[in-house]
């Protein structure tokens, strides 16, 4: 796949593969990001976003041009639109009531019953484009059009950890207690972020997520 190079800073490079959010381009970026994760190059970090591969480096340890050459080389070895087996993660969710305090209002806004929302939300598979915003927070694709809704007009100061929520064309899970303006429809007791583990986030880019109603 073709890419363009952007300098985010003097120690951070973006290899940009697409002008729009595209699962196939993101899968390609994800593969590239995993194949670059050997210690051949002295890099600080490598991570995917919706449309770019980001590489951070210390200019004292490695020349910028060397990173570009290596990414160009690796990019050629990855076939475009290669079929990837994604790891599937099932997330048990208690929908509605105390666990999903906005579900009742959302049903009114969307002219659906609470059961219909639960059925639509839990019948889909969601692709993880990237993880960010807060530690372990996944940016998921694939929300059913019938569930698209505006954000809360006033964001909550405190959203409980494990909240499953919807806003605009997206759905997501808050791994840690934080502030937020998405509409909460349920909660999972799965620990999504454990800082003491080698790999603290349960969810990583490229995974498929399924919500299982309890």
């Amino acid at each position: 796949m073709e890419f363009r190079i952007q300098d985010i800073s003097d120690s951070s490079l973006a290899f940009n593969f697409s002008n729009f959010i595209d699962e196939k381009a993101n899968q390609h970026i994800n593969l590239l990001s995993k194949s670059l994760t050997n210690d051949d190059l002295d890099l600080l970090s490598i991570y995917p976003t919706y449309t770019s591969l980001i590489v951070t480096y210390n200019p004292l340890l490695i020349e910028r041009i060397e990173i570009i050459r290596q990414v160009e080389k690796l990019n050629k070895t990855i076939k475009s639109y290669e079929k990837i087996e994604s790891q599937i993660l099932e997330i048990p969710v208690k929908y509605g009531g105390k666990n999903g305090q906005d579900l009742r209002d959302l049903a009114k806004i969307l002219s659906l019953s609470q059961e219909q929302i639960i059925n639509i939300h839990s019948s889909k598979s969601y692709y993880v484009f990237m993880v960010g915003f807060s530690p372990g927070f996944p940016y998921l694709g694939g929300l059913d059009k019938r569930l698209e809704c505006p954000r809360l007009s006033t964001p909550r100061v405190e959203v409980p950890a494990g909240s499953v929520a919807i806003a605009d064309k997206q759905t997501g899970i808050y791994p840690l207690k934080s502030s937020g303006g998405w509409r909460i429809i349920g909660n999972t007791n799965l620990k999504l972020f454990d800082e003491t583990k080698d790999s603290p986030s349960l969810i990583s880019p490229g995974m498929i997520i399924k919500f299982i109603p309890l």
Binding site: S9, I54, G132
Partner: protein
Amino acid sequence: MKILKVINNPPFSSIQDSGRYGYENQGVPNSGAGDMLSYRLGNLVLGNDDVPSIEIIHGNLELEFYKECSIAITGSDMNPKINSIPVKMWETIQVDRGDILTFHVSKNGLRSYLAIKNGFALKEIMKSSSTHSTFNIGGKKLAINDYLYCDSGPEDLKNYKLDVYPDYYKFSQVLANKKKLDVIKGPEFNNLSNKSKKELFDSKFKISNRMGRTGVVLEGKKIEFSKNFRDIISDGTSKGVIQVPSDGKLYVLMEDSQRIGGYPRIISLTTASLNYFSQLRPGDDVMFNLISIEEAHNKVKEMEIDFFEDNLSENLYQREFTLIHDEKEFAIKLGIKNKKNITINGKPIKLEF
């Protein structure tokens, strides 16, 4: 071993090292020292590798030492004193058991660093001891009655001082005289309106009160984009990146900020200039100077040569003062541990107990 106790509740003091890298794909910010140059120079003085130090923001920290040890204070000048006597910065200080070290309000910058021989010992979280200021991840925020620990290691009885160090007091004066901070173009720079492209480098911006380790909001000319520019898809960010949301203000991302952002990234502070920027306080003015990525990398290399090659001298005398006795002045220099290398008016003397 227990090395010191925190005696007061400081505004914001925390343990920092060079930061947490390799976890951005899991949404973990980098953290680490804001002024990496001063942080690294503190460890250089003590012959340490990259080991955890204390970052003191806004001053007002009081510590009591439980054991004798070597420390170094770098960064902004917070009028540090041991047992009420001022101590020098940018060089080894020998501390004794029971000594009280105090940092007051900063005279010239925002952040000061306290390095200690062999570093503070702390459980690493994701390969770093750095503290994130808002997520409860890693490191330690210092609070009253906290104890800090230290690994014992080889003691070097020599004292060192830096020949060259960043002078933040002078820097704040040159800033007033329109000294500019280097930036490079960001991915969305070309989407700025022609007027904003010019004003970005011709006008002053002021550090607002909305600032911390996650980011700094600047006040100044409203930044606008060309008419056909639309929102960007959330993409990678880095510390030093300057974003512009729809309010037209400059938002500088700092060490605790997210590595993914949804606002246009118009410019970014270079590695070298970010050290200086991190020392600015609310009300300080800043101007930007556009350079190329190649120049930015050259400046990093220059900084490395200036500050980290042959920059240490042995410091034979730790304390110098003048005594007046019978209307005569005696210039006294005390060496390490106050017992050897004592001179009076330049002549070495021998003390026998």
